[in-house]
């Protein structure tokens, strides 16, 4: 009677020790990864237009952290900045960034936040910039601080599609002190004091913004 009981106890202790040890190990690994990588934030100016149709600059912030594959937008502005179209373009931007970096997004959380000094019009034109900022955040890389990009994403193939209002945006970009603006193929424009370069893909634009 005593022997089986003792055996059971020993088995119990062994199992408990193994379980406890495994948790301890996985937890330590997790903590280590968290401190090593924790989160990375990239901020990028977004060429936009205001309600009067004039060029303006909004600000996009992307933060990538460890997580469960969720994608969030900050949604607490008294002046609405992120309409459903912008949400769709951010969602698409993440898909494009995920494809290009081959990152496992199911282990990351991505947080998008847009702020603007004036009343800017929401829409799809944040797409290319959001994809580029997301790639930088996923890779923990920095972007040039003298270059901005405007363009929408048609699909998740990484091509940059026309956006319109490039001339108005170029004025705002130059006035804010930037020296280069990347625009979709076929939308090249002239703006004194600003270099405007046509790009056709997100990968091409990313290379120019990393140089």
């Amino acid at each position: 009677m005593r022997k089986p009981f003792l055996l059971l106890l020993v088995a119990c202790a062994a199992i408990a020790l193994v379980v406890g040890y495994q948790y301890a190990e996985s937890n330590a690994a997790r903590n280590e990864a968290a401190t090593a990588r924790s989160s990375y934030t990239v901020t990028l100016g977004l060429p936009a237009v205001d309600l009067e149709g004039a060029g303006a600059l909004a600000n996009l912030t992307v933060t990538v952290s460890d997580g469960d594959g969720s994608v969030f937008v900050r949604f607490d502005s008294a002046k609405p900045l992120i309409n459903t179209e912008t949400q769709s373009s951010l969602r698409l931007a993440l898909d494009v960034a995920g494809k290009l970096t081959r990152e496992n997004l199911s282990k990351r959380n991505v947080y998008y936040s847009i702020s603007a000094p004036s009343d800017v019009v929401g829409g799809y034109s944040a797409g290319a910039a959001a994809a580029i900022a997301t790639i930088a955040a996923l890779r923990s890389e920095e972007l040039r601080d003298d270059t901005l990009v405007t363009g929408r994403l048609g699909s998740d193939d990484g091509k940059i599609a026309p956006v319109g209002k490039v001339e108005e945006k170029a004025v705002a970009v130059r006035e804010a002190g930037y020296s280069v603006l990347l625009v979709p193929k076929g939308e090249g424009a002239e703006e004194e004091g600003l270099r405007i370069i046509e790009v056709s893909t997100v990968a091409e634009a990313y290379a120019l913004m990393r140089e």
Binding site: Q22, F72, L90, R91
Partner: protein, 200 residues
């Protein structure tokens, strides 16, 4: 000698279990709740949401993995945060709020889930469950509950989903008074009043 070994084993066993348990990651306390909505076809429906708070700086996030949120819902969330703060009597400026829609649906629009968001925030802060058999459908205006559209359709949907109690704003008009036979209709003036029926 044998007894000692046995004792040591038991202690070890307990210790190992305790250590394992303590090292389990502690997840955020999440509050899942249902809010009433009206489909494009004009029918009432119940939609699952999940809300939680974590240490932060007063920001609010929505999960756009599959859903899109309209601007009026953004205002509704801002009001919900204020109403929750007022009811709790404490500032939530050190918390970030995250809202996730669990029922697959294209768009979240309108302000009619405001009171549901606010009561979920209060429940989440207090780490108390919400009753599964009660729903609320009201907007928020100046800290009070305000009427919403499509209330009859929403009541039918709630009754069909087996809900027992339906909380509405005091000034809410109902077209079909006989609905009161299918579900208990409770009128509330403030979020605090409504929580009497919603908190478990």
């Amino acid at each position: 000698m044998r007894r000692l070994a046995l004792l040591a084993l038991v202690v070890l066993c307990g210790l190992a279990l305790a250590v394992g348990y303590l090292l389990l990651p502690s997840p955020h306390y999440k509050t899942q709740f249902q809010a009433c909505a009206v489909t494009l076809g004009g029918e009432g429906t119940l939609v699952w949401f999940e809300i939680y708070m974590r240490q932060g700086s007063g920001k609010t996030f929505v999960n756009i993995q599959s859903a899109r949120f309209r601007e009026d819902t953004e205002q509704s969330l801002l009001k919900a945060r204020l109403a929750a703060e007022e009811t709790l009597g404490t500032s939530l400026k050190n918390y970030d709020i995250t809202l996730d829609m669990l029922t697959p649906q294209d768009n979240v629009a309108g302000e009619s889930a405001g009171a549901a968001f606010a009561s979920a925030l209060v429940a989440n802060y207090l780490q108390r469950p919400l009753r599964g058999d009660a729903v609320i459908s009201a907007a928020l205006s100046d800290g009070k509950l305000a009427p919403v559209g499509g209330i009859d359709e929403k009541m039918v949907a709630a009754a069909e989903a087996g809900k027992k109690t339906f909380v509405i704003a005091e000034e809410q008009q109902i077209k079909h008074a006989e609905l009161a036979q299918r579900i208990r209709i409770v009128r509330a003036k403030t979020l605090g009043d409504a929580l009497e029926y919603l908190l478990g």
